[in-house]
Amino acid sequence: MAERRVIGPTAWLVGGAGLFIGAIAAWLTSQGNPGNMGLCIACFWRDIAGYFMGSQTGQAGLAYIRPEIIGIMLGALAAALITKEFRPRGGSAPLLRFVLGFIFMVAALVFLGCTVRVWVRLGGGDLTAIWGAVGIVIGVVIGVFVLRKGFNLGRAKQLAAPLGWILPAIAVVLLVFALVTEYGAKPEWATLTPAKGKAVVPGEVVVTTDGDVIKPADATLVDGAVVAADGTVLADAEKVASAGAMPGGLRAALWISLLAGAAIGVAAQRSRFCSIGGIRDSILVRRFDLLFGVVGLVIGATIVNMLFGQYNLGFEGQPAAHNDALGSIAAMTLAGLAAVLMGGCPLRQMIMGSEGDADGAIAVVGMFAGAGFSHWAGLASSGAGLGDNAWLAMAVMAVILGAIAFIKRPRVA
């Protein structure tokens, strides 16, 4: 093969999109989104899962329909329609894509962030995210090895038009629920973290800033302390006063989030930005253009975080993060591998789903289910560290990923 340019002109397009997405993510934090969580595909779908299933999954503090998610899907849909890239297609191992999305999400919630938030966290100065980045690289290297062995989920086919509209339809349904909740009333069965609601004991005792106890339901506030119906003190006054806000209660205004999401959706659709594709392509086909995307994201987030005084360099006291290096590496190894096997990061799955790709939509539905399961089963981490069964779950997921890689290798008939 003749000499080939390994960095082409599209590097600047992807890099610019990354810069933009990182800047928007950091800006969203200044507008009210959680720290270093201006944009996180996993966390935001987790919050949406909390809205619908929070009463079953114990997500009182992680329940809100994130308008960014709706915006991303509708923005990408509009961009795909205008450029005539909307194509109803699917049928490439949808069940396995559901499982891969599910595993991706459970693993991401052990780390506390998806493959996009790793870079957002780094852009906020959160050095614990380095462990996540290390995990992604390891996972992608394993994924590249599997791809080189011939791993293939099979070709997607053209589908009947309505099947291309699965994810856009989900976006519209979410938009309706978000608007009804914002301007009308929350449905009885839904869970919604109160704005700036405080986590006194994460997941166990949650109070509003006004001092109303929202969890456990039968507890009351007595002299600043949370007291259960039987008189047990669940949290003393000092603990209540010093408690931090729950991520689900930290949010930018609905329209700001929606428009920011739409802008991200358009940028990602046009640029083909992918949070793992850069590392994958660099190793697999020696093409570095996509890598500019994540580099740009870190730079954009760093600059805007510094402008807004949100930049905090270090390993300690980072928002919605823990310092378990080994757990973070293992979790993101699994997430990185799952993302390679399904052909792109969770943001890309959403973009593809919005372009009419039913397989991308199924992966997103798998992520949604995985989020609810993760919290129901207590697998998601907290700032304090990993859940009791997180390592067991990661071992099981590693076996399943290995099996999928083994089953879908090429065989001679």
Binding site: M1, A2, P9, R155, V285, D289, D357, D359
Partner: protein, 68 residues
């Protein structure tokens, strides 16, 4: 002319197949793609390899022609 069909393949397989196809340096190559992402990536990849590229869109398909 070398011909490659990457229709229905998810990332990064369109690039893997294209890379393999140009290993023996064909002067002309035709890649069949059906997604915008595959099209964009294959076009950029061929241009980086020194091909002049043209794209014909016929119905649901992109015919990507590279020549040098």
């Amino acid at each position: 002319m070398k011909e490659v069909d990457v229709r229905g393949l998810s990332c990064p397989m369109p690039l893997m197949h294209t890379k393999k196809a140009i290993e023996d340096d064909p002067t002309e190559i035709l890649v069949h793609a059906d997604s915008g992402t595959a099209k964009a990536n294959v076009v950029a990849f061929l241009q980086d390899a020194g091909y002049s590229v043209s794209v014909d869109q016929t119905g649901e398909e992109y015919k990507i022609k590279g020549a040098r």
